[in-house]
């Protein structure tokens, strides 16, 4: 089991910088998600932790030992590949025992260990089957078996559910999380699926263009995004952005959107220019008396809730409201924003510190 510290890590492929000076810490036993759109550097970061890529600069500590230039075989890590990468010319048992054979473990011990792992994963009956005929889920289990069989310091997983169909993904995600809760092994998990990240992760790093945008607990990141990128990437539908020209000063409790005063958490930072007021759809309430006015453009029915799209003077706003509330397309409505949940972003897209988000942003 291990703590992993990433310090100012950087990776260049020729002229292209895949990862720019990223730093974060993965605590012992954490289920840690590397989240971002494709090409954001999350897989490269994972591969650097694994030793499949060597960083251009920076340090990686696994349990206090600097390993950034060491080969993968000396890092005591296990890696689960997106396409599983089971050795096709070996059967399930050989696949799972392969890491043990390289350590020179005695045969009887290997056999016992493989059976034990197979029992954990429920694949005892598959042990002597070739891997070629297995279903996606079983292949995934064999790949996990190969990873857990030698009790590595940590597990690295590169979109391990990406190759499964949607229905089965949910199930495997639960299985993975249950396995983690049982083994308490540090796990680093790469995904581009924000729902998967929030559902499974103890902590999330959000990356974009090779830069760490924010890292923290899923709820903190969801409630208090550090940048407009995070606000937009996480949540479905994403955070609403109301763009306005103006200023908010230190200690302000209101934002002035062309005459409308909107209550915001007390600011600890100030900025002026093209600002953005961010509010999550569930914190937008339709109230006729509210000062911000808009016209309803569309409503999407989602069972217990509905997503209502409203056209306002500051752009379109989506509200998540109970589906029992009747809405008519074309109607004028008032919008009330829950003041405790609002984030103000400066013109560069960074969140301004307020009483509400200072706890989250100060460690990011």
């Amino acid at each position: 089991m291990a703590q992993i510290v990433i310090k100012n890590i950087r990776k260049e492929f020729g002229a292209f910088t895949a990862v720019q000076s990223s730093s974060f810490t993965i605590e012992d036993g954490e289920f840690f998600m590397l989240l971002g759109p494709s090409g954001c550097g999350k897989t490269t970061t994972l591969r650097m932790i694994a030793g499949l890529e060597l960083p251009t600069s920076g340090e990686i500590y696994i349990n206090g030992e600097e390993v950034s230039q060491k080969p993968a075989s000396q890092r005591d890590i296990a890696f689960v590949f997106q396409m599983f990468a089971l050795y096709p010319h070996m059967n399930v048992r050989k696949n799972i025992s392969y890491p043990l054979i390289s350590q020179g473990m005695p045969k009887a011990q290997v056999k016992a260990k493989v059976e034990e792992v197979a029992a954990i994963l429920g694949i005892q009956t598959l042990l002597d089957r070739p891997v070629g005929g297995l279903s996606g889920g079983d292949r995934q289990r064999v790949a996990l078996g190969r990873a857990i069989v030698r009790n590595p310091a940590c597990f690295l997983m590169d979109e391990p559910l990406g190759a499964l169909d949607a229905e089965f993904r949910e199930h495997m995600a639960e299985e993975l999380r249950a396995l983690h809760d049982r083994m308490h092994a540090t796990t680093v998990y790469v995904t581009h699926d924000q729902l998967e990240a929030m559902q499974m992760g103890d902590k999330i790093v959000v990356m974009n263009h090779g830069v760490v945008e924010q890292f923290g607990k899923p709820q903190d990141i969801y409630d208090w995004p550090a940048t407009t990128f995070v606000a937009n990437f996480i949540g479905s539908p994403p955070m609403n952005f109301l763009r306005f020209e103006g200023m908010v000063g230190h200690g302000a409790t209101h934002a002035d959107l062309s005459g409308q005063r909107i209550g915001i958490p007390e600011m600890l930072d100030g900025a002026s220019g093209a600002l953005i007021l961010g509010v999550r759809p569930e914190n937008v309430h339709l109230e006729d008396a509210a000062p911000t006015k808009g016209r309803i453009l569309a409503a999407e029915y989602l069972g217990t809730t509905q997503i209502v799209t409203i056209d306002t003077a500051h752009g379109q706003v989506k509200a998540r409201i109970g589906s029992e509330t009747p809405v008519r397309i074309g109607d004028q409505t008032g919008l009330r924003f829950d003041p405790r949940s609002i984030t103000i972003f400066n013109p560069e897209g960074r969140a301004l510190k307020s009483v509400a988000n200072q706890r989250v942003l100060s460690h990011g």
């Binding site: 030793g51 499949l52 993968a72 075989s73 296990a78 890696f79 050795y87 010319h89 392969y98 390289s102």
Partner: protein, 312 residues
Amino acid sequence: MSFSITEPSPRQKWIAGTLVIAYALLTLIPLLWIIATGFKTPSDAIAYPPKVIFSPSLEGYVNLFTSRSRVTPEDLAALGPPTTWYDAIVRQYDMVITGPSRYGERFLNSVIIGFGSTFLSVFLGTIAAYAFSRFKVPLKDDLLFFILSTRMMPPIAVAIPIFLMYRQLGLSDTHLGMIFLYTAVNLSLSVWLLKGFIDEIPIEYEEAALIDGYTRFQAFYKIVLPQAATGIASTAIFCLIFAWNEYAFAALLTSGTAQTAPPFIPTIIGTGGKDWPAVAAGATLFLVPIMVFTILLRKHLLRGITFGAVRK
């Protein structure tokens, strides 16, 4: 009646079957003719109209493997009755066996040179293809093109420079010289073919092995090689067929020690009368190793020839 787009109808199957069988027979006729001629007597072999039904004789094979000389009937009588069946065959023509022919040696030369150069081409081709497939090689595309370009003219076009070079280097009429020559000719094919096969092996397999605690070389040896077996087998067959059948360079560069069977077989014909059965017997036996090799590897070959067409 139900029909399927992918499944041919019985009639289509019948037509396809007939065509395939007809084509197979057509291509097999020369082969069968050679084999049959090997078992004819010299007079049957040149009979007109050709004899399809004939009484088989091993004369061709005896003549192929022996040197003989003519003796007077008196000397023949003095020798007493023939002691072996092949003696008996030879004596019908007032000849005695004076020793084995050179066919055995030439055949062995073919085996050494053919398999030696095949092994070398495939070995070098595999490691070169692996490097081109997996590593950042400076000027990779240019190098690959350069390798391919050695294939763009018929090798025999450089026969004279090679002849002169080999004479200078003392490689003329040596096994090593012929192995090097055939390897050089086959290498471009082998690098290109094998690169295609290795490109198709996902790099994750090796990465998984690296993480499982193996070295790069172990990963190559234990993971890539078994995966590339199909490609290696089909490349080996292509290389062997070329080296085995090559005539021009063998005729030019070898005359004794390292002479292979192809330039030797026609020389059988020269000694007293046109001994077609012996030539045919030599050709028949010459076909055997490559047929065995191909049949042994046929499963791989079939997958190999259609490689790239079907994924996974």
